[in-house]
Structure formats: structure tokens, C-alpha cells
């Protein structure tokens, strides 16, 4: 498929078990060249584990990740040359200055000039504090240094795991603008976040995961559009999915445990219950909703905190 040439990331049935816990469950997602891709999910959903597998830090239990069309398990060094990453808990050497931390990374990466180091420090507004020890940095400054570090080699593909963690509102805004700017420069960006509005403002496409499973993926515009979303709770969700998927007037169905979220016009509601009843599937709850992504996301995140 010539379509594949445009893919920066492709995961195929990606699965990771930690003992009995399934952190990532049969995840298949695609990130296209030049897009800002949001990977959204509540705490513990499996976002960082997925990023870990993309960067070769975590070995998949099954399935695979391809980046630039190359399998990460086989071609990691080549892949990483073209990737800049900021992992979740940022790690630098406390006894080195911010600048020397970048110096060190530049040394092990190769091909990075000192002017580039100055430039990325400037980009995240750490100039002036670059000679101070990392251990004296505030949380936000540490976060900025990590972002600077991910940009060091001017990579084509940038992975950011919750980059705005711990930043103040002004900092969040700056970073958001920086990410958008990088997107305009043609970089492909994979952004992990548990903040819907962040993803909504920055990303073109988004995938939502919960309990390691992909719940939905698509263009943010489609997912955010106001529309009639029907929430159904049924006796046999699996069977109901299969039945409803055959109906061409249903635009999309997303399943979350025994709940189905159906994108369909309101005048069809009665018809849905009739179709299901014919198959001996009964509706235990039926609710019309209006804002898809936000309610949906709140729902899954609330469910988790409850």
C-alpha cells in the first residue's frame, strides 16, 4: 500500500503484560507523517507503556511497532536517529548544569553543534539559566529542559509524554504554541496527554485509550463535533455491536464495556431498539448525548476515579 509510506508510526496488535496486568491490549494505531497526534487516556491507561514500546524501552509481549516502516525490535538504532523523545519522568544529571546535560546528550547522539544547544535552550526560554545546576531547577524548568532535549537533533518525529506536566498556565500556553509551531514546520508529533482540552487545541487526530484498549481514534474535528450520540446499555453488547454494525445508517459505534456509543440521527432511535429486540437483545438504558468527545472522555475518566 502506498498509503504506508506516509505512516510514521504503525502499531499492530501491540500488547504488553506486566505479570497479570494487561497494560496495553491489542493496540493498533497509525500516525501519519506531519500530523500532531494526540494519545489521550486517563491515568494508568497505558500511554507511557505504549511510548516505552515505541522507543524500545519496553519489549512488547506480542504485536509490534513500526516507525518509519521499520520494526522497532529489529532496527531501533536507525529509528532513534530520527526521533526525539521526552519520556514521562524526566531524567537528567542533577550535578550537571542544564547546558552540560544537553552537552552530554549531544555527545552520545553525535552531530549536534553547540549553537544548536543554544538554540533549543532559547526555544524553551532557559537561556540565562543554562549554567545553573539541574538540581536547582524548578519543576517547570526541568520540563522545559526535557522538551529542549527532545528537539536537540532536530528530529522528524517527536514523542512527548505529558510535556505540560507541572507547568504554570503561561508555560502550558508557550509549550502548546511551540508544539503547534513544530507541527507547522512539518514535524510529526506524538503527544501523550490526559487533558482533553490540550489535545483538542493542538492535535489533528487523536486516539483514546483506557485500560490499555483503544476506544476510538479519528480526526479531532469529527470526534468533537456536536451531534447526536446515543448511549446504550444492552444485555449482549458484543452481539449488539455486530448487529448494529450492519446498518448503513449508523455512522459509528464505540463500545466501552457494556455501553455502546452510537453516532446516529435521533429519528432512528426507535428503529435501533426494534432491530435489537428482534435479535433478543434488550436495552437496559438509553440516553441521548450531545457532545461526543468531552462527555465521553469525562465519562471514562470519572469511571476510573469512582
Amino acid at each position: 500500500m502506498d498509503n504506508n509510506a506516509d505512516l510514521v508510526v504503525r502499531t499492530e496488535h501491540l500488547t504488553k503484560h506486566f505479570g497479570k496486568l494487561v497494560a496495553v491490549d491489542d493496540l493498533s494505531l497509525e500516525v501519519r507523517k506531519g500530523e500532531i497526534f494526540g494519545f489521550l487516556g486517563p491515568n494508568g491507561a497505558g500511554k507511557s507503556t505504549t511510548v516505552g514500546m515505541m522507543l524500545g524501552l519496553v519489549a512488547p509481549t506480542s504485536g509490534k511497532v513500526e516507525i518509519f516502516g521499520l520494526d522497532t525490535q529489529l532496527h531501533l538504532p536507525q529509528i532513534l536517529k530520527r526521533v526525539g523523545a521526552m519520556t514521562e519522568s524526566i531524567g537528567f544529571y542533577p550535578y550537571l548544569s542544564g547546558e552540560n546535560n544537553l552537552n552530554y546528550i549531544a555527545r552520545i547522539t553525535g552531530g549536534i553543534s553547540s549553537t544548536r544547544i543554544e538554540k533549543v535552550l532559547d526555544l524553551v526560554e532557559l537561556s540565562g539559566r543554562e549554567k545553573d545546576k539541574f538540581s536547582t531547577y524548578s519543576l517547570g524548568m526541568k520540563q522545559r529542559l526535557a522538551i529542549a532535549c527532545s528537539l536537540l537533533s532536530d528530529p522528524e518525529f517527536i514523542v512527548l509524554d505529558e510535556p505540560t506536566n507541572g507547568l504554570d498556565p503561561a508555560g502550558v500556553k508557550e509549550i502548546r504554541e511551540l508544539i503547534i509551531k513544530l507541527g507547522h514546520e512539518g514535524k510529526t508529533i506524538f503527544l501523550n496527554s490526559h487533558l482533553l482540552h490540550e489535545v483538542e487545541q493542538i492535535c489533528e487526530r487523536v486516539a483514546i485509550i483506557q485500560h490499555g484498549k483503544m476506544i476510538t481514534q479519528g480526526p479531532v474535528k469529527d470526534l468533537m463535533k456536536k451531534g447526536d450520540l446515543l448511549q446504550l446499555q444492552v444485555t449482549e453488547p458484543e452481539k449488539a455491536m455486530a448487529v448494529l454494525n450492519n446498518l448503513d445508517w449508523i455512522r459509528s459505534i464505540v463500545r466501552e464495556d457494556d455501553k455502546l456509543f452510537i453516532d446516529v440521527n435521533a429519528e432512528r432511535y426507535a428503529q435501533i431498539s426494534a432491530v435489537l429486540a428482534r435479535e433478543d437483545i434488550f436495552i437496559t438504558e438509553m440516553r441521548a448525548k450531545d457532545n461526543t468527545l468531552e462527555d465521553f472522555f469525562l465519562e471514562i475518566t470519572e469511571e476510573r476515579t469512582n
Partner: protein, 280 residues
Amino acid sequence: MIDMIRAELFKLRKRSMTWILLIILATFFCLMFFATYGIISSPPDGMHGVAIDEIKASLQFPGVFNTIFSTAGTIGTLLMIILGASSIGNEYGWGSIRQVLTRRGIRYHFVISKLVSLIIVAFIGLLISVVIGSILALITSNLLGSVNWDSITASLIREQLANFGWTLFALLPYILMATFFAFLGRSAIAGIGGGLGFYFIESIAVSLLGQAGGWLSKIPDYLIGPNVTAIMPPSPFSQGMLPSAGTSLSTLHATLTLTVYCIVFLTASLYMFKKRDITA
């Protein structure tokens, strides 16, 4: 790989721990020389003249080289366990290991560059020990009479170069063990605890097993400490005391045994590091 080793040395150079350990090394040498000098300048009653002469010789050229290497070997082992374990373990503690691994993607580069840089530091530490020891020997020699320059011959220097090599080699098993424990426990504490713990428990075990009979008394021949003793220049202070374990082992036996330890610890570290996930 070379750039990684250089980057590693850059970090070690910038790290205050390296310098603190070096100061400890220098201080230890000074204390040892002056304390020993103190003993012989006013020897306790009943100390044999032979013993006094032996100790005097250990502070002057050429005998002082044995003092230097055995001292550097002992204190060096402890310091390198601390430095080696910290160098690996702190990467986990600070999370910097992810930064490194997401740059290179070849895990054994990380392990090898760490170890090579530690060996380079051990080499430099040993060199510094020789310099400090020689300076101290010049001082004590002058205090005890004068420097016997005639004793410094080409063959003596050759011999000391070999001793230098053996001492460096003797540090290896413990460096590799400490780094192995640091990898195992993913922390500096695990490496220091494992390394120092092994070192001290082993020395107790060696003396206990040495008193036992039968096959039990053979066990020390296959532990690290006695084999290190076998390849190191004799310590001036062990003479006149009970023969310590290991003095009867052949150099070949010791070299092979220590090499096996090195290979086992290295292989285990490499394998474990390659297999394990790096999560938060």
C-alpha cells in the same frame, strides 16, 4: 562507542563524588604512611627489631612499592565499588537511563561504556596512588635516613609496571560485581550494598573456612579475595603474621578464577540489561 566512553568520562569528571573519593584515597595514603612512621619512630615495647626493620623497609624505596600497590588495591576496591555502583545505579534513580537509551538504542553500548570508563578511572586512581605513594616515600625515606636511589633499577621499574597491571586486574572482579548488583537492584544502594556486603562477608567466610578442615577449607581457593591476594604484591604487614589465605595459590589459578568471575558478572549484567524493560 568511543564517544559514549568519552561522554561517560565527562560525567565522571564533572561529578563531585569522583573527586571526593579521590580525596579519600589521598587522605588514606597520607594517614597510613604517617601512622606507620609514627609506630616505628617510637616503637612499642617488645616489638622485635626484625619487625621494625621490615616496616622501615616498607616505607622506603624499593619496598614501598608493595605498600603502595597493596594499599591502593584494598582502598581502591572499596572506592571503586562505591563509584561503580553509583555510576550505574544513579542512572536508574535519576531516570537519566531513559534519556541515554532513547538516543542510542543499543543497550550493550551503555554497559560497556560504563565499565570501560570505570576501568579508566581505576587506572587513573592507581596512577595517582603511585604518585602520592612515591612522594610520601620520599618524605619518609628522608625522615628515616636518605633515599636509596641506587635501588631504582630498570628491572625494578619493570617489576612495578607488572604490579600495576596485576593491581588493576585485581580491581576488576569487584567493579564488575558492584555494577552487576546495581543493575540487578536498579539502584546505587543495591550495588554498594551488594559489593561491600560481598567483600566483607567473603573476608569473614575466608578466615572461618580457613580454620575448617576437609573440603570446606578448599572453598576459599575459589572465592575472589584469596585469588586477589595471590596475584597482588605481598602486603608488608601480612609478613610475620599468619599466612593469609591465597598466598599458596598459583598465579595461573588466581588469574583463571578471577577471569571466570569477571566473565560471569559481565555476562549476567549484559543479559539482564538487555532483557529488562525500562519503566518509570
